[in-house]
């Protein structure tokens, strides 16, 4: 098995230079999520409006997979409709990453996705009242 199949070059690139890394001051939503098995942690921040994600930033501390998937996710969802994002499935996130993950690593890849969905659901239930 060669190294290149293992983790794709895309993942490597996102790990080395994660996009949208950082904080948003006075965000509309923010959250802190942890994967207890490995201690991976992500703090995520959203600016929202017109039913869309206007800005997304995060500070992640974790493994290759969790950092890179946060970076990829942030690129994908930036500017998108909240309703559309809520329709996305876990499988979509995993296929973006383009590698076959075992069950133990899936948790790493889905940490940022779980954080995002929790915030959006909270926002939806707040604004719909």
């Amino acid at each position: 098995m060669s190294e290149d199949i293992i983790y794709s070059a895309i993942i490597d690139e996102h790990y080395e230079e994660p996009r949208n890394f950082g904080k948003i001051e006075n965000p509309d939503e923010n959250i802190m999520e942890t994967n207890p098995t490995c201690g991976d942690t992500i703090a995520m921040y959203l600016r929202l409006g017109d039913g869309k994600i206007k800005d997304i930033k995060y500070v992640a501390r974790g493994c290759l997979i969790s950092v890179a998937s946060a970076s990829i996710l942030s690129e994908r969802v930036s500017g998108k409709d909240i309703k559309e994002i809520l329709k996305m499935k876990k499988e979509d996130i995993l296929s973006y990453l383009g590698i076959d993950l075992g069950p133990a690593r899936e948790k790493c890849a889905l940490l940022s996705y779980d954080a995002l969905i929790k915030m959006l659901k909270k926002y939806e239930s707040e604004t719909n009242q």
Binding site: E3, I6, Y7, P18, C38, V59, C108
Partner: protein, 419 residues
Amino acid sequence: MFDPVEIRKHFPIYERFQRENIVYLDNAATTQKPKEVIDAIVNYYENSNSNVHRGVYRIGEEATDLYNKSRENIAGFTGGKPEGTIFVRNATEALNLAANSLTRMIGKKFEVLVSRMEHHSNIVPWQIASDTFGIRLKMMESNIDRPLSWGDIERNITKDTRIVSLTHVSNLLGTINDLREIGKNLHERGIYFIVDAAQSVPHMPVNFRDLNCDLMAFSGHKMLGPSGIGVLQGTPEILEDMPPYMGGGEMIKEVFEDHFIAADIPEKFEAGTPNIEGAIGLSAAVNFLKNLRMESIRQHEKDLIAYTLEKEDELNIPSLISYGPRDPEVRGGIYSFNMRKNVESERPFGNEVHPHDISHLADRIEGVEVRSGHHCAMPQTVSLGVYATARASFYIYNTREDVDHLFDAIEKIGKRMIK
């Protein structure tokens, strides 16, 4: 002559390992099973399977006989008595039984002392006993590069200390604690002494009586046996005084509407249908280990950890940092490590290679199977200043070549992740 390559021939899973070039180095988590153990279990299923204790028909008697003989064999292996050898699921249940039953036996508030190098199995049961019965749990500091000494304990016991519970070998650092003197001193002071022997009984000669302890816990699956079976070994005296933990079939003499009369030990602590094939499988594992001689197993693992530490020194990989005593005399076959840049990283999220990546990449690059995480020893892991480590741990079928593969993997991961 102790020959790991010969030994592998007894392990059917090594066919797959050889086919896929897998180097299994997660023996502190669980060990592989030799065909002698598998055969003992299959043979039981195919010939004598039935419930124990009450069958006066022939296969019922065979099963009972196999179960009793397994207990005798396992008891003798660690120098305990059959009636002081209680079958439980694993070391964890053994320590829960001990914590719950001893606390109820003592029957008033007291202090229990554990060390920072304990596995969660020797911490959380005491926290539960503390929540339930109001006892006080005290965790003493322990050095990360040397064993616990009697002095360490002496400084930390108070007039309220009634129980001290310590691991024999640290599953994170590999530290081998010399518990004999500690046991002797605790005994003299009338303090109960419990030993978590989950990482010692599989790897070195352990004699229950020599440790001067009251209770000792270990797991079958870490010593070539099945999972689902473990042992709480104790002196008959203390076990007779301890109240039962679980209630149900087999553990009673008589049951009335409003009370029950407990059976004698060991049955008193074995409620319900036991893991019969588990006991039989563990007994076969004990025979396998006896054949190899525990002294030779310890010698082999000492050689492997010495070679590992030498090789680490020699290669001097700048990103590699490892933990635990450097003296192989007080170190089991356990090697926990991390990888990090020497200088502050440019990357915003820290300069460590995450142990999950080490474990994942070691598997994919070199077929080397190491565990990552806090290894159920969070207090000790945190004291190392990290969230997690990667850990390689050796057993009878590992070789110096396996260690070479480990370092090949580490070097390649370094090249890949630390540019």
